[in-house]
């Protein structure tokens, strides 16, 4: 890798292993994610996709191997985890909004508590982000009064409020009713167009095809194949990849 | 209190072994503690079941009495109940009560009050649909209760019943105040005999713990096995 390319790499995963007791979930994963790239991770359930994502902000601790963010190895012992996590935002499958705060307060929480922003600055920032995700009018609503799609968009705004270098999306539409999926994917697409570095675990293949710069196929903890969406979806090199895509009855002709 | 603080502290191990000489004396106290706790538990369950069923079935006058009983015994200290039964009741009825009997009655009535609440909650927690299905099959109310509701309620009630036994073992210590020679009383006697109050109380505490700890592990097991979601 040339020096120019090396600067470009924001997240570098080397030989990542993860086991839960006897169960090995990730095996020797090597992955580079460049600035501005949108990387979509696909694979059957149990393949370790979410685990891999959660290793990137150390919500899971790798058993061995390393993860570097912007050149800093986050898997060493004395790393300052809260500081590391500011750089990478995460959106969860079950939203995990703070129920005792309004939407606005949820978005303000990170800047105020972690970045020590003043109340008025945080409020301004939060308002702007809620406008960006299309929820300006829901600012004072509590999560319980929002639909799933609305909650997830607030969750995205909350993560964006930290001004992260990269965003991690963990099956963020899997828990949504079908008609609400689109509004969330639209926000994600907008983000991608603006150049945000994104690592997305999802089953939404059309999103992957349209928005991803690179698709990674994970199966049983192994990184089987990766490449541009066109290649993966139409001319996958590995049998296993083709099998998986077939199982989804994914048909490009119907796109 | 004899001895300097230093002297007492150095002699603690020696003192505790001295206390252990009186092992049989304390043991007789333990036996009584266990006896009275079990009596209270068994009588309490009997009382509790009757009271619970009366309240669930809303039997006209009995319901009011039952509710008053439960409310009264839950809203007054056990000690006040025991003292009343030991000192006041004999005067009213003209018949004297031994401390053991008075203590047993007091603890049983006390146990009955909170056990009835456990039973009531357990029975009511079995879904409506169950009794409706049973009745739809043509079962009588009591058949429905016996064959369908109670068997389901019983498993949910096991953990809190276990906890109740632990509570009773601890509250049995109050019987010492009306001179029942259970563990606490024996400890008091031994303490004045040996002037080693601190050591005696420490040993007594460990003996109580030896009784309650296995019980609480048992309750944890019951919890895992029968009521994991609560």
């Amino acid at each position: 890798m040339s020096e120019h390319e090396a600067h470009d790499v924001l997240i570098e995963v080397r030989n990542l292993d993860k086991s839960f007791g006897d169960l090995q979930v990730l095996r020797g994963i090597d992955l580079n994610i460049r600035r501005g790239e949108v990387v979509v991770i696909i694979g059957p359930s149990g393949s370790g996709k979410s685990t891999l994502l959660r290793c990137l902000n150390r919500l899971e601790d790798p058993t061995s191997g390393s993860v570097k963010i912007d050149g800093v190895d986050i898997t060493t012992r004395n790393v300052n985890l809260p500081r590391v996590r500011r750089q990478v935002g995460m959106v969860f499958q079950h939203f995990n909004l703070f129920p005792h705060m309004t939407a606005l307060e949820n978005v303000m929480e990170g800047p105020r508590t972690v970045l020590h922003m003043s109340r008025s600055d945080a409020e301004c920032l939060a308002q702007g982000l809620l406008v960006k995700v299309g929820l300006a009018d829901k600012a004072n609503g509590k999560p319980a009064n929002l639909s799933g799609g609305q909650q997830q968009r607030v969750a995205i705004a909350r993560a964006l409020a930290m001004n992260p270098d990269a965003m991690l999306f963990d099956e963020v539409t899997s828990a949504l009713d079908p008609e609400l999926v689109g509004e969330v994917l639209n926000v994600m697409r907008k983000l991608a167009d603006e150049g945000m570095t994104m690592v997305v675990v999802t089953h939404e293949m059309s999103f992957a095809r349209r928005v991803a710069d690179r698709v990674v196929f994970l199966d049983q903890g192994l990184l089987v194949e990766e490449g541009p969406p066109d290649r993966i979806f139409h001319r996958a090199g590995h049998e296993r990849t083709r099998q998986f895509l077939d199982q989804l009855h994914w048909d490009i002709a119907s796109e | 209190m004899a001895g300097s603080a230093q002297g007492q502290r150095r002699g603690i191990l020696g003192a505790i072994s001295e206390v252990f000489q009186y092992w049989p004396f304390l043991l007789s106290g333990v036996v009584l503690t266990v006896q009275v706790s079990l009596i209270a538990m068994i009588c309490g369950m009997a009382i509790g079941m009757v009271v619970a069923l009366i309240r669930i079935a809303h039997v006209p006058i009995a319901n009011g009495v039952a509710s008053l009983y439960v409310d009264f015994f839950r809203a007054t200290p056990v000690l006040a109940q025991l003292i009343w039964i030991y000192y006041a009741l004999p005067i009213i009825t003209g018949r004297s009560l031994t401390a053991f009997v008075a203590g047993s009655i007091g603890l049983s009535l006390y146990a009955g009050s909170f056990l009835s609440e456990i039973f009531r909650a357990g029975i009511l927690s079995v879904e409506r649909g169950q009794s409706e299905a049973a009745l739809a099959l043509g079962m009588s109310r009591s058949q429905a209760m016996r064959r369908v509701i109670l068997p389901q309620a019983v498993t949910r009630m096991l953990p809190p019943i276990g906890s109740s036994l632990i509570t009773l073992v601890k509250d049995s210590a109050l019987l010492s105040i009306i001179s029942v020679p259970e563990l606490m009383r024996q400890s008091e006697t031994l303490a004045s005999l040996t002037f080693r109050r601190m050591e005696v109380l420490t040993v007594a505490a460990f003996l109580y713990f030896a009784l309650t700890y296995p019980l609480s592990r048992g309750v944890d097991y019951l919890h895992c096995r029968f009521a994991p979601e609560s």
Partner: protein, 221 residues
């Protein structure tokens, strides 16, 4: 069976009894505050990843909940002066014993309340870059507080009744004054009945209020 109830024995003595009630209330409030603080710290400590801390707090909690309050009370009253060289008044010993005993129960309540907050909340807070402390104070505890209020209400009611025990070390609260009075007036029946009734009328509404708290929490979820 005609026992002649004569409540005239209360004239001039009722005030004395009610003064005891005042002390009962004061002692309860004091012990409750102490055990809330201590219990909260212990409850959080119980969840710490250090094995040692978990072990110590578990032993503390198990032991204090597994031995009678009476034993603890007497132990503190008689042993503390020996161990520390400081003589504590009966009231102070009572407050200390009650506080420690309750803190064991309170710590369990807080621990369960904190653990009942779904893991996702903690992860969301950590993902934002919050420290463990910030996560606890800004996200977990505010949600846990709601859930622990009914059980803490129960603890309060038990505390209120448990204060009767401290009469054995001559703290002049309600129960003790009842004893003193029944000896002085030779009328244990009326006196002890009134004592029981006073406890009842003061405690019953509170017990009902706690029932309501539990009901409200159940309906909410």
């Amino acid at each position: 069976m005609g026992y002649e109830w004569r409540f005239d024995v209360l004239e001039g003595n009722l005030e004395f009894l009610l003064g005891g009630l005042g002390l009962t209330i004061g002692l309860s409030v004091l012990s409750m505050i102490g055990s809330l603080i201590l219990g909260l710290l212990l409850g959080i400590a119980r969840l710490s990843p250090w094995r040692g801390m978990q072990f110590v707090t578990t032993i503390y909690s198990d032991f204090l909940r597994g031995t009678p309050l009476l034993v603890q009370l007497l132990w503190i009253y008689y042993s503390l002066p020996i161990l520390t060289g400081v003589v504590f008044s009966p009231i102070a010993s009572a407050a200390i014993a009650l506080t420690f005993n309750l803190s064991a129960f309170v710590s369990e309540i807080f621990r369960a309340g904190i653990q009942s907050i779904g893991r996702g909340q903690r992860e969301a807070a950590l993902a934002l870059g919050m420290t463990g402390w910030q996560t606890m104070t800004r996200v977990i505890l505010p949600q846990a507080v709601r859930r622990v209020i009914p059980p803490l209400g129960s603890v309060w009611v038990s505390l209120f009744k448990d204060t009767a025990l401290v009469s054995v070390i001559a703290v002049p609260e309600l129960m003790y004054r009842g004893k003193v009075l029944s000896i002085e007036t030779y009328r244990p029946v009326e006196i002890y009945t009134v004592v029981a009734l006073i406890y009842f009328f003061v405690t019953f509404p509170q017990a009902r209020a706690v029932d309501w708290l539990f009901e409200r929490a159940r309906v909410r979820s």
